[in-house]
């Protein structure tokens, strides 16, 4: 049986991509300024230098509350810290065959999100480590970027990736890479090869974990008609269905239930989570992820 070609297996960054990332960074910085009064609480974490105090906001982690100040002033304040050592960000990109579904292609959007997060990490002074799993039997690829490195190196790394093979994020998480040094970890893909509890193992040592689930329009809003569905990661026979309104409704209900499991788990364990259609620009996805 001839395997059909994937619709969107490759990555290609537009010429204005870095300019868009700059604009995203400016918006995020402005939003943080308004919200935190100059602090960078959205990205500070444990194990960093103390730099000052700011008023406590309801819902914040009580472990950051300064109890001594509360006792003295009878008002809640939290400590503002800056990292005392160069932080490490790990960004995992799913490059399995299912990421070639689209248009717009899931791998393309994932690469844009990964590139934006990598750039934000560099601007925050972090060491950014990009990971991707390349094809069947190939070892995962990795790229390390420091604060002063050319951000275009990340773009070149991502443009070399192709959607192929099986496993994706599951393979990366099971592999030889360890992420103990990463103060923050982002998993970007369709998450279809993972069960939600798989991310829980990454929540160690106060690490902040973020997950971006990207689905193509054909997966979120399938059109009516006779369709031959095939999975790029399966070698079995395709599934031919007559998708009418009733079948479409049942599929959407099942999909919603599946996505709800991710949302619920993320909310319960303070995992930054965003699930978006690949039609959504990467700026919105990254922004919503960091606000989550």
């Amino acid at each position: 049986m001839v395997t059909p070609a994937l619709p969107c297996p490759q990555v290609r960054f537009e010429e204005d991509y870095l300019r868009r990332v700059d604009a995203l960074h400016a918006r995020l910085a402005a939003a943080t300024q308004r919200r935190e009064g100059g602090g960078r609480a959205a990205i500070v974490g444990p194990g960093e230098d103390f730099v000052g105090y700011r008023p406590y906001s309801p819902g914040e982690d009580l472990r950051r509350l300064d109890w001594n100040l509360l006792a003295r002033l009878d008002r809640p304040y939290v400590q503002v810290r800056r990292r005392d050592a160069e932080e490490v960000w790990a960004i995992l990109v799913d490059t399995s065959g299912s990421m070639g579904v689209g248009p717009p292609g899931k791998l393309q959007r994932a690469a844009e999100c990964a590139g934006a997060l990598a750039s934000l990490g560099q601007r925050a002074g972090a060491e950014v480590r990009l990971f991707a799993c390349d094809g069947e039997g190939a070892p995962p690829a990795a790229l390390v970027l420091r604060a002063r490195d050319d951000p275009r190196a990340a773009l070149r790394f991502l443009e070399e990736r192709r959607a192929a093979g099986r496993g994706g994020l599951a393979k990366l998480l099971e592999g030889s890479f360890t992420f103990a040094e990463a103060g923050r970890l982002f998993a970007i893909g369709d998450l279809l090869d993972l069960e939600p509890p798989a991310l829980l193992s990454l929540l160690r040592g106060g690490r902040r974990v973020g997950a971006v689930q990207l689905l193509a329009p054909v997966e979120l809003e399938p059109e009516l008609g006779a369709v031959e569905w095939w999975d790029p990661e399966e070698r079995g026979a395709p599934l031919r269905l007559a998708v009418d309104g009733e079948v479409q409704g049942r599929y959407e209900t099942a999909l919603e239930a599946y996505l709800e499991r991710w949302r619920e788990l993320s909310a319960r364990h303070a995992i930054l989570f965003a699930c978006r259609s690949t039609r959504v620009p990467f700026e919105e996805t990254v922004r919503d992820l960091l606000r989550a």
Binding site: Q213, E233, A254
Partner: protein, 435 residues
């Protein structure tokens, strides 16, 4: 043949109160039909890659065989596009609201001057009026005129519509009328009815002239004697029939006295006397008044007059101006056969030759007064020449359209464009977020 077939099929659509100016445009309905058939053609299932195949498998939906070819469902965008093409085709067919065909209207201008009531022949019984009217009705019938849309017009009377003028018009009017001002009625859709062919002939209107031989008879009165034209010369006959003058008491006293003297000289009785009215005077008054000065020849008067002056016509009868104010505005005195209209309300002074003043006004009274009963002017009694008929030019039928009215086809085209834009951009409008 296809166009005529389409035109025939489009006829029932006219029942909706819509007519189609370009029925061939219905052929464009083939476009949405072809699109519909193309989109609904049986096709093998479309191939789609998905990462959620497991979810689909769990649905336990009916699977298709490998050889199945099905008609794919139409998306709402495809339906919108078909609807847009259909509306565009209807717009091309040129719909518009059915218009009531404008009926051709005719105007018939009838001459009721005294000569119209003379017989065609001196000893004949048929009047020139009847002969001219019969010719006019024949011309209207030849032109296919709808008798309900024929309007009969004559000076001094209200216009009437119908197959024929009022029967009263077959008799001479009480106050003799002159001929209509033909030049005002030379237009398509118009017919002149008279006895003598006009000079010049109409260029656009039609003409029904009865013609008629000369009819000798009384032509006037002089020195208390009736003058009779025998066809060759004028001879004196007995006294003329009695007549009277109707004097408006509102006239300035000087003019009333002059009129009374003139009437006595002419053997006419004043108001209240017997005989047929030969001159009816009326004072134009009311409204503002102004000081005026006017003169003719060797005399000049000053006084006051009604600011509006004498109108150009009164009771439908055109008046000829005789005396105008020196500042060139107001008509102070005007006349028509049997009528005298005076806008002067008071005379302050009369300068110049009194005799000339009196003679001038006496000439006016002679000019305005009607001849004795039964008297027609020599011109009226002379031959009206041969009968003449000229078919009238139908008036152009003007489309009853309003420049401000937006046509049905424009609305259809706009709706088609909107549907097409919505169909085209539908995918972009669809929701983007999964949350």
């Amino acid at each position: 043949m296809a166009v005529s077939l389409v035109s025939d099929l489009a006829l029932p659509l006219g029942l909706l109160g819509v007519e189609w100016t370009r029925p061939a445009g219905f052929l464009a309905l083939l476009a949405p039909l072809v699109l519909l058939l193309f989109l609904r053609r049986p096709k093998p299932p479309r191939s789609e890659a998905t990462g959620t195949l497991e979810l689909w498998r769990r649905l336990e939906a009916r699977e298709l065989s490998s050889a199945a070819r099905t008609r794919h469902g139409m998306t709402w965008r495809a339906w919108l596009l078909c609807a847009a093409l259909a509306l565009a085709a209807l717009a091309i067919a040129g719909p518009r609201k059915e218009r009531t065909p404008r009926v051709q209207r005719w105007r018939v201008v009838v001459d009721r001057s005294p000569s119209m009531y003379l017989p065609l022949e001196p000893d004949g019984t048929e009047a020139r009026y009847d002969a001219a009217l019969a010719e006019a009705q024949a011309l209207l019938a030849e032109a296919g005129a709808d008798v309900e849309e024929v309007r009969w017009i004559t000076p001094g009377e209200a216009a009437v519509s119908g197959a024929a003028p009022p029967s009263g018009w077959a008799r001479p009017p009480e106050v003799p009328r002159g001929e209509p001002r033909w030049e005002r009625w030379d237009a398509p859709g118009t017919l002149w009815v008279t006895d003598r062919a006009t000079d010049p002939l109409p260029t656009s209107a039609g003409l029904a002239a009865s013609g008629g031989a000369a009819v000798p008879g009384p032509v006037g009165a002089a020195k208390g004697r009736l003058l009779v034209w025998d066809g060759i010369a004028l001879v004196e006959d007995g006294p003329p029939p009695p007549g009277r003058v109707e004097v408006d008491e509102a006239l300035p006293e000087e003019l009333r006295r002059l009129l009374a003297i003139w009437a006595e000289e002419r053997g006419l009785a004043l108001e209240g006397g017997g005989g047929t009215p030969r001159l009816h005077s009326v004072a134009i008054s009311g409204g503002d008044s102004l000081e005026v000065a006017a003169g003719r020849g060797a005399w000049r008067l000053t006084g006051r007059a009604a600011a509006a002056g004498v109108p150009a016509e009164r009771e439908g009868v055109p008046l000829e101006a005789w005396l105008e104010a020196e500042d060139g505005g107001v008509v102070l005195v005007a006349f028509a056969p049997g009528r005298l209209a005076v806008a002067l309300t008071a005379l302050d002074s009369i300068d110049g030759d009194p005799a000339a003043f009196a003679a001038s006004w006496a000439e006016l009274f002679d000019l305005a007064s009607l001849p004795p009963e039964g008297t027609l002017s020599l011109e009226e009694r002379s031959s009206a020449g041969e009968a003449r008929r000229i078919a009238p030019t139908p008036a152009a039928v003007v489309e009853e359209t309003s420049a401000e009215e937006i046509g049905l086809e424009a609305w259809l085209a706009l709706l088609a464009a909107i549907l097409a834009v919505v169909a085209w951009s539908g995918r972009a409008i669809a929701g983007r977020t999964a949350q």
